[in-house]
Symmetry: none
Subunit: 193 residues, 2 copies
DNA sequence: ACACGATATCCATTATATCGGAATTTCTAT
DNA sequence: ATAGAAATTCCGATATAATGGATATCGTGT
């Protein structure tokens, strides 16, 4: 790999080892990882494999997640401006070509916030199974003819209008018009904050 | 290593990837890990290094500890479908008519997630002061000619392309084209619990 | 100061993680 | 069915993780 901005786990491991009054040799015997490898890992001069890391957590009796100091286990990377070209934008197409979703949100946000450009063929519908409890959808129509239906009601949309509804129950979006319909769909999962 | 009784993370990673509708190629582009390596890891035929695992958790936006286990969910209340007509959709217009924002997100979400339809006149720019620390913006171009600039860099956008950048520093969006430019802007405030 | 045992690092060798391109399989469409 | 495209898996080449023995460093007495 060209760059490695992964967190430093060397010092963490060294700290755990020293707290247990273990020598490199002793830990090597316990974990099955060689002393030299341990030395390199602790000094950040090696990039251990998963198997090695796992052995170490077992030998030290620590939780795997403890390897990352401070508990911040996912950090925002993008320092500059990140560009997602059209070709790299994930798409979901229905088997019968009734609809197409372009996933505009970042994969890193999946399960928290997602937004899509929706395209539905005339007379077709996009049916969705219930999402996780507490999930809401917000649909803004870019064209006329769209209809939203859930177990709790139905609502037609004109261009520019927005519908907000629970998505933790069955719901479907129908294009009742004669042209391909487009819309913006934002899915907001319950944040429980 | 002779023995490896470490947990199987391959299936976990594959599940996360598929949930995001990413191909091996796309995840490779996102993470910097080759598609062949990804394939091997998912099938348990490789023993990835820490650096590789870290890249993957970053690209997928999952917690490092999720590689071992998994679990979530909660719930909330009920309502029907709420409709926001075009006339009721809040708008912000610049004094000089250089740009216009339509606030598509719910006011209840303000300060957490907000999304806008942006319109910028030819040759004009939308300048924004820094938002709260940790805030990110995601801009998807609906037309050509848009240019995003922050203190950290600049990026031109073609139709359908998406830019992601920090919004906790000064940033501006310019329409360098000769037609009115349109885009979707999603502002995501830092949620860290 | 000087040893001397204990511990950690360096070095050459081996094993394998990682990569890019080719071959294969899977999917989609006609 | 069959062709084409897309996605995944296979394969040879390379970079590097991992090892065991040799060397260096540290610590603790005397």
């Amino acid at each position: 790999m060209e760059v490695n901005n992964a967190p430093k786990i060397g010092p963490v491991l060294q700290k755990e080892r020293k707290e247990r009054h273990l020598t490199l040799d002793r830990l090597a015997a316990l974990s099955g990882v060689s002393r030299s490898m341990l030395s390199q890992i602790e000094r950040g001069e090696a990039n251990p494999t998963f198997a090695v890391l796992w052995s170490l957590t077992q030998a030290l009796g620590i939780d795997f997640s403890q390897l990352i100091a401070g508990g911040i286990t996912h950090q925002r990377k993008a320092e500059a401006i990140e560009l997602v070209t059209l070709a790299l934008t994930p798409e979901i197409k229905s088997p019968d070509g009734a609809w197409r979703l372009r996933i505009l949100s970042s994969p890193a946000l999946a399960g928290r916030v997602e937004w899509y450009e929706v395209e539905i063929a005339p007379g077709s519908k996009l049916q969705s199974a219930p999402h996780a409890p507490g999930t809401f959808e917000h649909l803004t129509a870019y064209t006329d003819g769209l209809l939203v239906e859930t177990e709790l009601g139905r609502q037609e949309l004109l261009t520019g209008e927005t519908a907000r509804y629970r998505a933790d129950i069955g719901h479907e979006i129908t294009n009742g018009g004669t042209e391909t319909a487009r819309a913006l769909m934002v899915v907001l999962y319950d944040q429980e904050a």
